[in-house]
């Protein structure tokens, strides 16, 4: 396969994790502009684990998901009391704070005659696990999509589960959800933790794909895009954010017809879609209708 194609597909796969992360919060009714913070935490955590501590990739990725999920729970406890705009702003503030902290974060270790590790705003290079261990780019691509498939399978199970229904109920009306007997606060924190873990896993993969991260990568731009993917793709199914990613990176980015104007085209697309289909392309109504095609309901009685 063409290297460029492998690269684009790898990017689509990795961005999908953070898009799913933002989408999971959208599902519970929260708009987060800050999922890039957990992506960053995951990227640094996984990079440090393999490059500085010599961990195997699997352990490093698990660790990146765990620490990002843990951080999301810790941040979620105070911020999830906030609502709407206030929550959105709090997430944005938190993410910027994390980015600034990484600009001050120096943790360098002499490895093989060279200092390796996060070096403030100069970034963290030499996350060379896949080169040290001869993981081919196709193999790494397969790993990305395997994990993405596992995450999607998880979402499919979730959507059929009580927990998934609970997330949707909270997203539509959290007071009404509480009146139906849901432990709303706890469920929201759980959703935030799962979303953080997903973003962290994506970050861990990203660091190993590019071998290099720096704080600027985790700028609010990334968070806004991840949020936009769910809004474009739709709230009805976890395939929604993936559709958003494919439209943006797969079409706009790769077709290159718009070159430097791409961001403008993308912004316009989001604006138009929000007006025409406020809950995204694959919204609940559409997904419900499609679902009904497959599940034959017993005919309405006479």
């Amino acid at each position: 396969m063409d290297d460029y194609l492998v690269g684009v597909l790898s990017n689509i796969g990795i961005v999908s994790f953070i898009a799913l992360s933002a989408w999971l919060l959208l599902l519970t009714g929260e708009i987060s502009f800050g999922q890039q913070a957990f992506f960053a935490i995951g990227a640094y955590a996984a990079g440090i684990a393999t490059a500085l501590w010599g961990w195997p990739l699997g352990a490093a990725l698990g660790w990146s998901a765990a620490i990002a999920g843990g951080a999301a729970v810790l941040v979620g406890v105070p911020t999830l009391r906030l609502h709407g705009l206030y929550f959105a702003i709090a997430t944005l503030g938190f993410a910027e704070m994390v980015r600034l902290l990484f600009e001050q974060f120096h943790y360098r270790v002499m490895i093989d005659g060279e200092l390796v590790g996060p070096n403030g705003s100069d970034g963290f290079r030499g996350i060379r696990y896949i080169f040290e261990n001869d993981v081919g780019s196709l193999q790494f691509l397969a790993l990305i999509y395997l994990l993405l498939a596992a995450a999607l399978a998880g979402f499919m199970l979730l959507e059929r589960s009580r927990l998934g229904v609970a997330f949707r109920m909270i997203g539509e009306d959290d007071t009404l959800a509480a009146l139906n007997g849901l432990a709303v606060a706890r469920l929201k924190i759980l959703a935030a933790g799962l979303a953080g873990a997903l973003a962290g896993l994506g970050g861990g993969l990203y660091a190993h794909l590019t071998t290099y991260v720096e704080p600027r990568v985790f700028d609010v731009m990334l968070g806004v895009h991840s949020l936009a993917y769910g809004l474009i793709g739709g709230l009805g199914t976890a395939l929604g954010p993936l559709l958003g990613v494919v439209i943006d990176i797969g079409l706009l980015e790769s077709v290159r017809a718009f070159a430097g104007y791409r961001m403008i085209v993308f912004g316009g697309l989001v604006a138009v879609l929000l007006i025409v289909r406020p809950r995204g392309l694959l919204d609940e109504a559409l997904v419900h209708r499609i679902g009904r095609l497959f599940v034959r309901a017993p005919p309405a009685g006479p």
């Binding site: 109920m169 009404l176 009146l179 139906n180 007997g181 809950r279 919204d283 609940e284 109504a285």
Partner: protein, 239 residues
């Protein structure tokens, strides 16, 4: 027996409930009437645990409900049909009914209860796969009642079930309320429609400015006085 005693609830510095006490007898329909802003919704939300009372006790058959989370209160057998926020609009009618049974685990029981709801509300059955947000106001109100019943409450709280509905639908809703009560559900109902409320209620309370100002049976107070006090408050009625 359900009992509220000396409940005080505030929004910031505003005292919306200034020591409310009332009793709701099991198996009866009890109605709470009062003018706009009297604190009726505040009382319902406090009973349901959405708002925490500053002071006072809330007891259902001896269990203390004050200070519990809404989820715990549902598990103790209280369900509220709130004012204005009736259904999950992006979920189908059937999913809304399942939502009401969130705390239950008995699959078979839930399925048979859904069938019972469809039997009682045939219009919901016809629309079971329709998104709840696209139902008419009356249908949404019926769905909200059915959804609340799915938790098999011992006490059903309803906040203005006739709000914004045409007279024919209002009559239908009250018919259902009476029917539910005949089947043994204890009902505590907030209403503005004093005429309908007094027709079905066994017991009623008047609330004005965060206080209970009258309690008795429908026969005890002339309907026009009730109506006057329920719509306008007693200051005007007296003046």
């Amino acid at each position: 027996m359900f009992e509220v005693s000396d409940i005080v609830a505030t929004y910031g510095k505003i005292e919306a409930l200034k020591g409310v006490s009332l009793k709701v007898e099991s198996g009866k329909i009890t109605c709470l009437l009062g003018p706009n802003g009297a604190g009726k919704t505040t009382l319902m939300m406090t009973i349901a645990g959405i708002l925490q009372p500053r002071r006072g006790a809330i007891r259902l058959d001896g269990m203390d409900l004050a200070g519990l989370s809404p989820a715990r209160i549902v598990s103790r057998g209280v369900a509220l049909v709130p004012e204005n926020r009736l259904v999950f609009p992006q979920m189908s009618v059937r999913e809304n009914l399942l939502a009401g049974a969130y705390q239950r685990r008995d699959r078979a029981g839930i399925d048979s209860d859904i069938d019972r709801m469809y039997a009682r509300f045939p219009r919901l059955k016809e629309r079971r796969e329709q998104m709840a947000g696209t139902l008419s106001g009356g249908e949404q109100q019926m769905l909200a009642v059915a959804r609340a019943l799915m938790s098999r409450p011992r006490l059903l709280l309803m906040d203005e079930p006739s709000l914004g509905l045409a007279p024919l639908i209002v009559a239908e809703i009250f018919e259902i309320i009476a029917e539910l009560n005949r089947d043994g559900t204890t009902i505590f109902l907030v209403e503005q429609n004093a005429h309908m409320a007094l027709k079905v209620a066994h017991q009623f309370f008047l609330m004005e400015q965060g206080r209970i100002t009258f309690s008795g049976t429908p026969g005890q107070l002339a309907e026009d006085e009730v109506i006057q006090r329920a719509y306008l408050g007693s200051r005007r009625a007296a003046g």
